[in-house]
Amino acid sequence: MGSFLIRRLAGSFVVLALVSLMSFALIWLVPGDPAAAFLDASATPAQIATLRSALGLDLSLPQQMIGWYGRILSGDLGQSILLNRSVSAALTERLPVTLALAALALAFAVVVGVTAGLIAAVNHNRWPDQAVMTAALLGLSVPDFWLGLVMVLVFAVSLGWLPSGGFTAFSQSPGEWLRCMILPALTLGLVQVGFIARMARASMLDTLGQDYVRTADAKGLAKLRVVLRHALPNALIPILTVIGIVSGALLGGAVIVEQVFSIPGIGRLIVGAIAARDFPVLQGGLLFLAIVYLSINLVVDVLYAVVDPRVRLA
């Protein structure tokens, strides 16, 4: 298990090094000037030049690169141009919001997705199976932003049950926090439900066809007991991998959903940084997301190795 962990960690560092290089490359890959973007159309060339110099954008590329690596290695992601605060502060402030949103969406997607997949597999080729698969396909095809607006129109505007957007901190009011998070989490989770349901169905069908399940069935055990006690634990192994992939997709989807529901998470921060060419936030944000994404994958891989010892040897 130790060597497995070392191998996985080393791989993660390579990925991080590549991501940090790509984050830096944004400065010259993305068109547009942060200084011109920050000032308005009547800014004089002198004002733009002063701001460029203050941001270090007048330095040569190698100088900027040395500065970038020097800073990130010492744990400093720099100062935001737009927010007038450090990038680390901006990110850590918003991380809990995005993680909570993604966690709620994941919980919803897993519970509903696995249940739906299970129902479909048990009723293979009958109407519940077809209904679940059609719904899953529909869910997979719907864009997040559209689904978000439909949710708002139905649950906030027409029914008035939930807020249409905005955010209340958990520490301020747990009840209000939950009310604010339900619609965004459902929006984010629904798209993934289809994905998980399809995988759960396939995995479950595979397991239900195994000899030991048929033996359990032949012994006369109750159908529900066979499915839940014997088949489901084994079917969960591939689902676990899918959950890892879904977690990454949820972080990506949060960018759009946070925009629609005005939630102050990392996605919103990064979208704002792109629009304003706030490069330090953009670079720091991407690196930070990469770390979160890699950590999630690492945890999933370790869990996978715990559940299935063959993985450790691979």
Partner: protein, 512 residues
């Protein structure tokens, strides 16, 4: 006769009752949440010229002079001003009744420190560039000396672009963005949650300008009835509209035309028109062919149907007006209107024949704002009719502005000028001085702008401004298509709201 008298009495009673109800309707209380599309980059009013910041900070901070409804500078924290005959010395008596939100009384030291801070780090340094010294000449008196006379000095001092806000001296000593948000305005700062909201509450110790008789631009009497105002940052237009319909926000800073039409038919909402909000301007890059040729520019100017451009780009919310200033401005002028909105293709072809343009593609750079893309498309179609081939290059604002501030890779660029015409003639001229926006110096504009800044005689200043506007048309330095506006929407319960450059939350109240 008796019947007539009874009827008359009934009418008088009804009017009196209505009046009484009107007076009673002004009630304190209630909270308003405003959906705004962008988050303010900072609440340090002096260091940012972002519209999103102005929306919030002009409720919190005040300036020595502020703009009235027609954008004329009038005293706000100053009681007035005495200007020396040579126009170099300005003595401002400061109001004695004003208290900051932290309880400190306003005095000359606060004003001096605030002006000095702006000179160091203010976002529009040109506003204070003429200042030589700022001194307290009494406990409640400040004297500003200029290096040379500047006719636009009071305009500058009262500009809401990146306001020269007055802070307590203790805050004015702090670096950019590090201040405590403490002003003298009708609302005080409560909290700022990044990417979420800014909350303000009514400042009950607010001392309204005794000279103000009512709501008047950014100046006048600022009576706050609401308990609290929250600015919620909601970038998605559809989400803002949904929030208004769901009752989660009471005011939507901007809605598109079709939504405005729909909400306008619903008794629960009121749609407001802010017209004018900006000028739609089409710039030429005069640093390279073909737009370095005046005949090419005049040909384009002659060909364009500005009404067609405005009707498509800003349907239902535009004004046709040749002036580079807004209607109501002191120097508003129709000079040059003989060359405005001509759509004269015959003349255009003649002028184009005299130019050096002999075919080939020219580039129209434009950001992804729908109205600007529409403007570029209409121009492209119209110019095709006189034989100019226009290629449209759309990208986001940072990319376009980077290209547009360089002398190559573009011929046309369109965007709005909002605050410049509001600020007045000096600001309208400034983008063309030194060839800043047209990428090639125009000696005539430089001469007029310098003379205008030094001239103190109102009549001569007006003549100079007219000369500027005439030159803009005679040389087609750039083209103005028209004035555009924007739609705002609020709950019908928000009473006495009057649209202006920011959604002013003073003078308004909520009905239950």
């Amino acid at each position: 006769m008796a019947k007539h008298l009874i009827l008359k009495a009934a009418v008088i009673a009804a009017v009196a009752l209505g009046g009484a109800q009107g007076a009673l309707a002004q009630r304190k209380g209630g909270e308003v949440t405003i959906g705004i599309s962008q988050a303010p980059p900072s609440l340090d009013a002096q260091i940012t010229s972002a519209q999103a910041s102005r929306n919030v900070t002009l409720h919190i901070f005040e300036t020595l002079y502020a703009r009235d409804e027609n954008a004329k500078p009038v005293p706000e924290l100053a009681e007035g001003v005495t200007v020396s005959p040579d126009g170099k010395s300005y003595v401002f008596p400061i109001r004695k009744d004003v208290t900051f939100h932290n309880g400190k009384k306003l005095d000359a030291a606060d004003v001096v420190a605030s002006l000095e801070r702006y000179r160091k780090i203010g976002a529009s340094p040109a506003l204070v560039a003429a200042i030589d010294t700022v001194k307290a000449s009494g406990e409640h008196e400040v004297t500003v000396t200029l290096k040379q006379a500047q006719s636009t000095f009071l305009d500058n001092l009262s500009s809401p672009r990146a306001p020269i806000a007055i802070y307590p001296a203790s805050e004015a000593a702090k670096e950019a963005g590090k201040i405590e948000v403490i002003g003298t305005g009708p609302y005080k700062f409560v909290e700022y949650k990044p990417d979420s909201h800014v909350k303000l509450t009514r400042y009950d110790g607010y001392a309204s300008n005794p000279k103000g008789t009512g709501r008047d631009g950014f100046a006048g009497k600022k009576e706050a009835f609401l308990d609290a105002v929250t600015f919620r940052f909601m970038p998605e237009g559809g989400a803002r509209t949904a929030a208004l319909e769901a009752g989660q926000i009471q005011f939507n800073e901007t809605v598109d035309g079709p939504t405005a039409k729909r909400l306008g038919t619903d008794a629960r909402f009121t749609v407001h028109k802010v017209v004018p909000f900006g000028l739609q301007v089409i710039k030429f890059n005069q640093a390279q062919p073909p737009a370095n040729d005046v005949n090419f520019r005049l040909a384009v100017q002659a060909a364009l149907d500005m009404e067609e451009i405005m009707a498509i780009s800003y349907a239902d919310i535009y004004q046709m007006d040749p002036s580079w200033l807004y209607p109501g401005a002191a120097f508003h002028s129709t000079v040059g209107s003989d060359k405005y909105n001509k759509a004269d293709l015959k003349l255009a072809k003649e002028l184009l024949g005299k130019s050096s343009y002999k075919g080939g593609k020219v580039t129209f750079i434009v950001d992804n704002l729908r109205a600007n893309v529409d403007t570029a498309t209409v121009v492209q179609q119209k110019l095709k009719e006189i034989g100019i081939e226009v290629e449209i290059a759309v990208s986001d604002w940072p990319t376009v502005s980077k290209i547009g501030f360089t002398p190559t890779n573009w011929t046309f660029w369109t965007h709005g000028f909002g605050i410049e015409p509001y600020e007045g003639p000096g600001s309208v001229m400034a983008p063309w001085v030194n060839g800043l926006s047209q990428q090639a110096k125009d000696p005539e504009i430089d001469r007029i702008a310098a003379a205008f800044n030094a001239e103190l005689d109102e009549g001569k200043r007006k003549a100079l401004y007219d000369a500027f506007q005439k030159h803009m048309y005679d040389a087609a330095v750039a083209m103005k298509a028209g004035n555009y506006g924007l739609f705002q929407a609020s709950t019908a319960k928000l009473k006495n709201f009057k649209p202006y450059r920011i959604p002013r939350m003073w003078g308004v109240w909520l009905e239950p």
